[in-house]
Amino acid sequence: MNLALILFASIITSNIALTYFLGMCPFVSISKNIRVASGMGIAVTIVMTVTASANWLILNKVLIPMGLQYLQFLVFIITIATLVQIIEIFLDRFSPALYHAFGIFLPLITVNCAILGVSLFAMLRVYTFWQTVAFAFGSGIGWFLAIIAIGGLRKKLMFADPPENFGAAGITAILAGIMALAFIGFTGIASL
């Protein structure tokens, strides 16, 4: 499949947050404030791209040749945790401002299912290395867009006065559902 197509589809029509509903936990809990949400979005994009590429390399160059493919879940999770740790060390050294801006979000990403999900999707769909990079980067950007969009909507919620019983998380889930409909509307153009 064409790289541009993968990139477009993963950002819009097969958005990781809105069509697969992965990474919902930060999506609901951190989207109250757009600034914080975009910090999380950037962090997710970076980590997703780096980990999916690394996991592809490990899977195809190490696990499959050794016949140890069944260890993929364990290995993928270890890789993700390690890379997040390494990114933290680098940021702390070279960009303290960014390090403090990310704060707790970077370590939290370690347990974000969207990150693991992208590595697993890339494996299931038997992507090549560059396809994986495009897919992971696109998914990151897609998640970023989705959390920004819902952040903007939630800001407007302050003036909307939804029924009390929906609560903060409930109304956000409903909003996400409506947004998902809009995103899926583009499926005809391209899908994965």
Partner: protein, 358 residues
């Protein structure tokens, strides 16, 4: 098959572990930085550690009651260059005004580049002492009175109520904890500290294990919680448990230097067993009509026929003429808050209520 995967996973984890250790060592190297002190002195230091730590290693002693955990805020300093922006952990403790003035918490601030900082001159007077344990006595089930003889330098001058920081080793590194000095400020060659054993607590388990003859290192004196010796006002002391220590120093000072001042001494504890140094205060109360002693127990105790209840209720019952008093409180935060409310309602002005929370 199982063996192969076991070997692989272990090898992989080992590789990852070394990779992170290696990167941490290589990348987190900041090189030597220059720190300018009060725009007159300069010294070189290894980057990558907290400013408090760097100052400590260079024998500049900054008060820090919490041991660098970022909760007490005592270690704040003005950093004029090389500090960057205040961290989220600092804005929890420092006020917005302090942040605008350039205050930073030195325990949270990592030294990454050359820095210019200002240390209040009184901090420069703080010295490091070597001492020898003279005696250590278990006065309640978990509190020890430890007396330390000063070896080098041979004497310390402190104000009644101030504290010292005891240094101890952990895993080849060192840490320190703050303890109030309970002895008389005039006995400069020896200090007494009261240490309550906290299970798993690093400082208190270390101090409880010391025996006479052992060497200890500490620095001091620290703190702005001390008796106002110029005033003639009535003194109200309120201690909760081991919070007795700094107030003991105040009472001892009062006995020899200020016994013409009225003093009301409230001491709250759980049971009679926790009421340590009870006889010393009774003796003081016997010697002078100016010394009024109000011990109180919060738990049921058949041997006790004195006051019962939490200490703030006792103050509420006995304190008169609060408007002409000054108060010194030391104990757990919940006690300080309750007692402060009572004192305010009795007319003691807020600025004359000093406390040491721990």
């Amino acid at each position: 098959m199982i063996l192969k995967s076991l070997i692989f996973i272990n090898g992989f984890a080992l590789f990852i572990g070394f990779l992170i250790l290696f990167l941490d060592k290589v990348i987190s190297r900041y090189g030597t930085v220059t720190i300018t002190l009060n725009s007159e002195k300069e010294f070189k230091a290894e980057g990558g550690k907290s400013l408090l730590r760097v100052l400590f290693e260079n024998k500049y002693f900054i008060p820090s009651a919490c041991g660098g955990k970022g909760t007490c805020g005592y270690c704040k300093l003005v950093v004029s260059e090389g500090g960057g922006e205040a961290l989220p952990t600092e804005s929890l403790v420092l006020t917005p005004k302090e942040i605008r003035q350039g205050y930073r918490m030195s325990c949270q601030l990592k030294v990454r580049s050359d820095m210019a900082i200002y240390i209040p001159p009184e901090y420069l007077e703080i010295k490091e002492y070597t001492g020898e344990i003279v005696s250590t006595e278990l006065v309640t089930s978990d509190i020890r009175e430890i007396k330390i003889k000063l070896v080098e330098p041979e004497s310390i001058s402190f104000k009644p109520g101030q504290y010292v920081q005891i240094r101890f080793d952990v895993d080849g590194d060192f840490d320190y904890r703050a303890y109030s000095v309970a002895s008389h400020p005039d006995t400069q060659g020896e200090i007494e500290i009261n240490v309550k054993l906290i299970p798993e607590g690093l400082g208190s388990t270390y101090l409880h294990a010391l025996r006479p003859g052992d060497t200890v290192y500490f620095s001091g004196p620290y703190g702005d919680f001390f008796l106002n010796t110029d005033s003639k006002r009535k003194i109200v002391c309120c201690a909760g448990g081991v919070g007795l220590a700094p107030l003991k120093a105040i009472a001892r000072y009062w006995l020899t230097h200020a016994s013409n001042r009225e003093i009301e001494f409230y001491f709250g504890s759980r049971t009679t067993k926790d009421l340590y140094d009870h006889s010393m205060f009774e003796e003081m109360a016997g010697k002078s009509p100016n010394f009024k002693y109000f011990p109180a127990l919060s738990d049921e105790d058949p041997e006790w026929d004195g006051e019962r209840g939490f200490i703030h209720t006792i103050i509420d019952r006995h304190l008169e003429g609060g408007y002409k008093a000054e108060a010194y409180l030391c104990g757990p935060p919940i006690m300080i808050d309750a007692v402060t409310d009572v004192l305010l309602s009795k007319g003691v002005p807020q600025e004359r209520i000093l406390y040491d929370k721990f």
